[in-house]
Structure formats: structure tokens, C-alpha cells
Symmetry: C2
DNA sequence: TCAAATTTAAAACGATCGTTTGGATTATCA
DNA sequence: TGATAATCCAAACGATCGTTTTAAATTTGA
């Protein structure tokens, strides 16, 4: 698994097509045509389509989790008792840092779209792969949230976070559909930044809501 | 398009399989095997797989929108100026009324899962079908929300509602995945009712949040 | 330089897919 | 009852899928 050019071209093409169409709606022939490589190249370099799917996720999740780990290290050095917004701020910062502003929106929406597919598409092998490789960092992050809100139970933290993930993932991965609906409905067009500007306070209010128990 | 038994059996099987696997991951042979009908029956009764997908949505959306229209009629008779919770209450009531409590959870999660697929799967024909058939009731509902919150712009109403839809749809349509993650993470199992009990106040706080502008 | 690794090419594989066909079977109703 | 239409069935069609194979060309690195 070496030689940057062909492998990278396949990953680029696959990433874009997966995000656009989903996994089973994207054929290897579409990928290799777009990447301008031979059909057999995918099986040669990755072994199978499933492993290609995993490689696409691995390419951005591995550096991402490394950055997140480092940022969490920094945070715990700076503040002994970080609060909710600190921890979530680290997550957002990690998503944005090192990405050139020009391609930030594109990269981010592809990231979100793929994340959504990981949850909603029937790809048990992918969830096994993600769990096997990234569960440690994920759990570390959740634990920070937990200690930032000791009044909330683990159960409440878990579900609130995933309610929020649901909003973000759904909004980003259906963004083009929703954007057109919004124009149709309200006559006003909204960019991703505009919508994020509405989404953040929305989630803030929800996440910080007092538990009724 | 007559003869209730075969058509109904196909719709039942298709609905369940679509909700479980998605559209393109479900073959007509899976559907006809589960429905115990001949393979050709789908094309005979529905014309094509696409039209079957639309028929599955139509079967529950047509009575649903009729009920919703009636409930909105009732509401405007009862209260001249319904508030946010009144309007959303009508929606929830419409989803639950007439469904036997025994199968309510099953029906509801299938409904949500299908709704999520309509947004996230690559099925342009389906979104065209939904818009052509149900846009009127949808728009009427949104208008009620608007007049219940005249302080919010159409744009803010639209996006808040869809942030909320995102949470619900994501949570319900990934419920089995999330449920297993929650057990792994927190050691606590949660039923759909449990999670709904957390999700409702979460969304309440977010939807009613004061606009910063 | 020479062997190994990579890339391309072209073809075929077995499998599965949605769809179609033509005849058998069943239901409908004058 | 007998004719007409609706339904069902087994089988096949053509297309596409992921994957594999064989062979030649090219690049790479020790």
C-alpha cells in the first residue's frame, strides 16, 4: 500500500462519490473512471470495496483523532476543570484547524456527510472498523464532557451529545436538499455559515438545558 | 392496482425491508420472498421499484396528512392564537392517534426511519413525489408555526424545525446502533420511550430559545 | 543494472439486479 | 355457464456489479 499518486486519486474520487451518492450507489467503475486509473487498481491497492470504504474514513479520522488527542492534552494542561463549552470548543477547533479556509466548507460537509453515512447506511463492517480504531479517543472525549458536567448522568450526556450530532449530521448531509426547501419556503437563501450561526445557539440551549430529574 | 392481499403483503414487506436496509440495499427478490409472492408481482402491481418506493410512502403519508389537516382545523377552531407547543402537540398527536399502543413503537420507528431515508438517500424521484403530493399540508403546518412565533423570522422557524427533525430522524433511524453504543458506553440500556423522554425537553429548550438578533 | 513493485490493458468470472414474457390459473359477471 | 379480464407463476433477458486473471509496460529503489 504505497505509491501516493494512484492511491490518493482513488481515495479522492471515492470520498467525493461516497459522500454524494452513498456506498452501494457508487460502483468501482465510477470511482476508477473519475480517478482515471484502471479498474483493477482498487482491488490491487485496497483488496476490496469494503476496505476502500474503511480507507476513506481512515484517511481523515486518523489525523483528526491525533489532533483531537493533542488538543485534549493542551486543554487539561491549561484548565484543571474545563467546562462544557471548552470541551466542545476543542472539538470544533480540531475540525477546523489546519484546513485552508478556501476548501473548509467542502471538506467539512464531506466529513459530515460521511459521518452520517457511517450511522445510517447498512455497513456493519464500517462500524466495526471505526470502533476498533477510534473508540479510545472517542471515549476519552466523552469522559471530558462527563467531568465538565458532573450533574448530568453518563446516560444523559451520551444521548444529548448524539441528539446534537444528529442535528449537525442531518443538517450538513442533507444540506443541498434543505437549502432548496428553504428558498422555496422562505424566499431566503442561506450559506453553510449562516445555518451554522443558527445551529450553534440552538444546540447550546439544548445541551445546557437543566435536567428535569 | 387491485386485490388487497398481494399488494398489501408487498407493501408490508417492502416497508420493513426499506426501513431496515435502505432502498438500493433491498432487492425485489428480498421483498417478494418475504411477502411470499411471485417476483413479477411488484412490476405487475406497481410498475417499477421506484413506484413501489413511492407507494410505501404514500400508504402512510396520505392518511397521515389527512389526519393532520383535520387536527389543524380543530386547533384553529379551538384557539384563535395557538402557541408553539399547541402546534407541535398536534403533530405528535397526529402521529400517535389511531395506532394501537402495541405496535406504536414499531410503526413510529419505521416511519422515522423512512423519513430519514427520504432526506439522506439518493432518490430524487422520491423527493419529487413527496413534494408533488404533500407540499400543501407541509406548508400549512409551517405557517401555523410561524404565526405561533411571530417574533421569529420564517428563516429561523424553518431551520430550527429542521434541526429538530434532524435530531429525531437521526436518533430514530440509527436507534439500534446508538442503543448498542449507549450500553457499551454507559452500561445502561434505554428503550425508545426512555430516549424520547430525554429528547423532548432537549428539543423544547432548543426550539423555544430566544433569538440573539 | 536488475529485480521488485506498480500501473495499465483487456477480458472474463459468477452473481445479482430490475424487468419482461407467455402461458396457466383464478376471479368476475353478464 | 361461458366468456372476459385480472392475477399469478416460472423462466429467461440484458445489464451491471465486485472480483480475478493473464500479460505487458512502466517505475522504483537497492
Amino acid at each position: 500500500m504505497s505509491q501516493p499518486d494512484t492511491v490518493t486519486r482513488i481515495l479522492d474520487a471515492a470520498e467525493e462519490l461516497f459522500a454524494e451518492k452513498g456506498f452501494s450507489e457508487t460502483s468501482l467503475r465510477m470511482i476508477t473512471t473519475k480517478a482515471k486509473v484502471n479498474l483493477a487498481a482498487v482491488n490491487y491497492h485496497f483488496g476490496s470495496k469494503k476496505e476502500l470504504v474503511q480507507a476513506v474514513f481512515g484517511r481523515f479520522l486518523t489525523p483528526f483523532t491525533h489532533k483531537l488527542d493533542k488538543e485534549l492534552d493542551k486543554l487539561s494542561e491549561l484548565k484543571a476543570e474545563p467546562n462544557f463549552n471548552d470541551v466542545l470548543g476543542v472539538l470544533v477547533k480540531t475540525m477546523l484547524v489546519g484546513v485552508e479556509p478556501g476548501v473548509r466548507d467542502k471538506k467539512l460537509s464531506v466529513f459530515m456527510r460521511l459521518l452520517g453515512l457511517a450511522y445510517t447506511q447498512a455497513q456493519a463492517h464500517l462500524r466495526r472498523f471505526l470502533f476498533a480504531n477510534y473508540a479510545v479517543t472517542y471515549r476519552r472525549f466523552i469522559n471530558y464532557l462527563k467531568q465538565a458536567h458532573p450533574d448530568l448522568s453518563s446516560r444523559e450526556i451520551f444521548w444529548r451529545i448524539h441528539f446534537a450530532i444528529g442535528s449537525v449530521v442531518f443538517t450538513m448531509s442533507s444540506f443541498e436538499v434543505l437549502r432548496n426547501m428553504a428558498i422555496e419556503d422562505t424566499g431566503v437563501d442561506s450559506s453553510i455559515e449562516d445555518v451554522m450561526g443558527l445551529l450553534m445557539p440552538f444546540l447550546s440551549a439544548a445541551l445546557e438545558q437543566e435536567s428535569p430529574a
